[in-house]
Structures are given as structure tokens and as C-alpha cells.
Symmetry: none
Subunit: 253 residues, 2 copies
């Protein structure tokens, strides 16, 4: 993004921003788009209609609006496939050791997007969520990411929540920072609990989580999961660093 024009066309800028957000963050509802732009819903509707008219957006059957064919692929998938390749061997080992499903997620605006999943062998297990998104402030991996955000970015996100929830998230993230891991106890789905930690130094941010049925969650096992997650995240980070230095990937390290 370049310096703002001396004479901005605010309506044009709103439309282009909306298109860029669609591309970067994926499908959105009309009211969310309006809130994001700070305009009335009817105004957002007009902007989206203009985007659809010129193929910068398409409307899905569930009435959400998604990026249109004129827009290119967002940057994140390229970085994500790089990250995915680095992380998968480690996630597989983590799952083999702990017996629960593991996920790799990246930030995408106010949500986290699932880039990879390794499912455990149990018949009742958390399945593949690759490609899906969850609100960052509710998921374990999302909270692990948010805990590392700077004050301004975090304030912008919290400003989109109602004050009571914003305060809860704020407190929750302080706990995440203190403990070094984040917990999602059925906040995104009944019966599902997840533990997440950030991948240190991942470009653009990333986090991994172990997700399991609530009935298999145990406070006694929590420290062991946290330790395994933390060392796995460090191994992924080391692989990312080795690759950016041009070294061959070491299979286990």
C-alpha cells in the first residue's frame, strides 16, 4: 500500500479496501463488511454490488460475499504452504506421541485460518479443519497468536467486540502471556477443547494446537501437552530458520 493520495476518493477507497479485505481474509457478511468500513449497511451493500458487477466479488449461496475472479491469490497461501511443509513432520510426531489431533493455523485479520491438520487414530477425534477459519479470540491457537500482538493491533480487534467480551479477551490474553499457552474450552464447539502455543518467529505469525474431545481433556495431562507443543513449535521454528538460511531440512531436529 502506497502513501495516501493528496485528494482521496473516499468511496473508491472504501471499495478497494473492501476488495483487498475479501482477498486477504476471505468471505464476509454484509454487516461485518459495513462494520469493518465504518459505514451504514446499505452503503456497504452498494459497494459490494459494485464489486460483484465488475467481478471483484461474488456472492455465495449463504449470502456472504467472497473474492471474485479478478483478484489474485492472497500472499498467505504461499507462505502457508512453506510453513505447512516445515510443520507437518513435527505435527505428525506430536500426534503419534500424544494421541490427539494437531492443527497449524495462521492469522487472517480477526480470524485464524487452519493451514494443516494431522488427525489422531482415535475413533472419536477432532477432524480436519484445513481451510476453515475461527474467530481468533475464541480459539486456542488464535489466542496464542493474539497474545503476541502489539497494543494497537489488539485494540483494533477488541474494538470490534462488545465491551464485556473485549474485557474477557483482554484478561484471558494476559493469562496466555503469563502461562505461555492458550486454552479453548468448548468456546468454538461444544465438546471440543484445544491447547495452543505460538510458533516463535514464524513470518506473519503462526500457532499450533492439540485439539481433543472434552471427555479426554485432563488437567493432569495439560503440562505434558504444553511441553510437547512448545518443543514442537520450537522445532518448526528452527526448520523455518534453517530453510531461510538455505540449509537442507533436517528430518527430526
Amino acid at each position: 500500500m502506497r502513501n495516501a493520495p493528496t485528494y482521496p476518493l473516499s468511496s473508491v477507497d472504501a471499495a478497494l479496501l473492501l476488495a483487498a479485505l475479501l482477498r486477504q481474509e476471505g468471505p464476509t457478511r454484509l454487516t461485518d463488511a459495513a462494520a469493518r468500513l465504518g459505514v451504514a449497511p446499505s452503503t456497504a451493500h452498494r459497494l459490494l454490488a459494485a464489486l460483484v458487477h465488475r467481478d471483484f466479488a461474488v456472492q455465495l449461496p449463504d449470502r456472504r460475499y467472497a473474492p471474485g475472479p479478478v483478484l489474485g491469490e492472497p500472499v498467505a497461501p504461499v507462505a502457508s504452504s512453506h510453513l505447512r511443509d516445515a510443520a507437518l513432520p513435527h505435527l505428525r510426531r506430536l500426534v503419534a506421541e500424544q494421541g490427539e489431533s494437531a492443527h497449524l493455523v495462521v492469522p487472517a485479520g480477526g480470524v485464524t485460518r487452519f493451514v494443516a491438520t494431522v488427525e489422531c487414530d482415535a475413533v472419536l477425534r477432532v477432524g480436519d479443519r484445513t481451510g476453515r477459519t475461527l474467530p481468533a479470540h475464541r480459539s486456542a491457537a488464535g489466542k496464542a497468536l493474539l497474545a503476541g500482538w502489539d497494543t494497537d493491533a489488539l485494540a483494533a480487534l477488541l474494538g470490534q467486540l462488545d465491551p464485556a467480551e473485549a474485557e474477557r479477551v483482554h484478561r484471558d490474553l494476559r493469562g496466555v502471556r503469563r502461562r505461555g499457552f492458550a486454552l479453548n474450552d468448548q468456546a468454538t464447539e461444544v465438546g471440543l477443547t484445544a491447547v495452543g502455543v505460538p510458533v516463535p518467529g514464524a513470518p506473519g505469525g503462526a500457532a499450533i494446537s492439540l485439539a481433543m474431545p472434552r471427555v479426554r481433556f485432563s488437567r493432569d495431562r495439560l503440562p505434558g501437552w504444553v511441553t510437547a507443543l512448545t518443543s514442537t513449535a520450537a522445532a518448526v521454528a528452527a526448520d523455518l530458520t534453517d530453510e531461510s538460511r538455505g540449509r537442507p531440512r533436517s528430518p527430526g531436529s
Copy 2:
């Protein structure tokens, strides 16, 4: 492109159209963008500044504006190299038989862009024009393309000319449609004459032409040139169709 919104936002639509044109047709000058949109240069400048601000456009060192990183790859450039590969063997044979230079062109808004040239052996000959553009309504290949345009698209282009020239072009194109070929008798360069025909069914449109010094142009040879051009265009078209069906390219057919 979808149905026009019931309440179009004209400034937003202009910006999005401009972005789409950049993507489809490549770099453009400010004044050409203004003419294309039918707005004042200062308005076009504002729109381009807004596009640059959100990475839908970038400005080149020569002050032209090009597509920005947010836009996806256009369909046309791929098609052009694809088209070029299909056409070159046929153009070479055409030049060997007729003894004059041949060109392959594609439409790019109100101009035609030279994608490939095969030069003849004569010392005085029409040289390589690959990468250059000519006004569509003045060049032979351009007119061959325009003759196949629908009424609305053609009216938009003619609307950019002065009324007398628009009327001449209109009449000229009627002749092109009747005869099946187009003639450029020194309209683009003194001493240069060209005969052009469309490549039927080429995605996005294409045309080929034989171009020669005016002194070598002959009304007696014209039918022979037209026949050779028409069969060459058909052969190129057949190759394009074969390739889109996944067949190996046949060297001569």
C-alpha cells in the same frame, strides 16, 4: 461481469473498470485511461492514485500505470504466448510462400498489439513490430478484428473518434465484413500496405496480416494473399482447438 447494480456508484465503477482494464490490457498512460473511461485527465489521475494506494496499480518509471499485486493474472498474456506458439510455424510457411512479412496481433482495448512477426527475405521489407501497438481502426489486422465486434463495443470505440473518422471507419468495417479481409493502405505508415484477416475462434480475438512496401502491393495479387491468409488463419485456429483438447501439436497441419 454481473448485471449492473440498480443504483450504480459511478466513481467506484470507474475505478474498478480501470483496474480490470489494467489487468486485461496491460500498462496504460494517464491520458489513454482518461479517454477510455470518458473522463477528464485529472479524474483519471485521481482514480489511478486511488488504485495505486491500495496496490491495485503501480506506476512505472516511464509514468505509465500497470496492474498492481492485488490483481490476479490476466487471461490474455498466457493466451498470447500460447497463440504465438501455435501461429509461428504457419506464419513462417505463409512468408516462405508469399514472400512478404507476416504479423500476428491481438486486441488491447482500442489498439492492436503485435505478438509475433515473421520477416521475409527481401532487402526492403516490413520489419519486426512485436510489442508495438497500432490504432485498431487504422491497421489491417485491427480492422479485421473490429469487424467482428458487437455493436456496443464498437460504438464505444467509435465514440472516441471525431464524427467524420468514425463514419469512415464504420463504412470501412462494413466493407471488411462483406469481403472477409481488411486493407491498410498507408494509413499507419507512408509506403506500407497490409492485408489482414481474423483468426476465427481465437480466445480474446486475434488476427494475422501480410505487410509489404506499397511499391510491391498489387491488386492482381490481392486475391492470392487473401486466400493464403485465410487458410493460414484457419490452420492457426485448428491448432488452437487441438491444443485446447489436449492433443499433441501437429507440425504442419
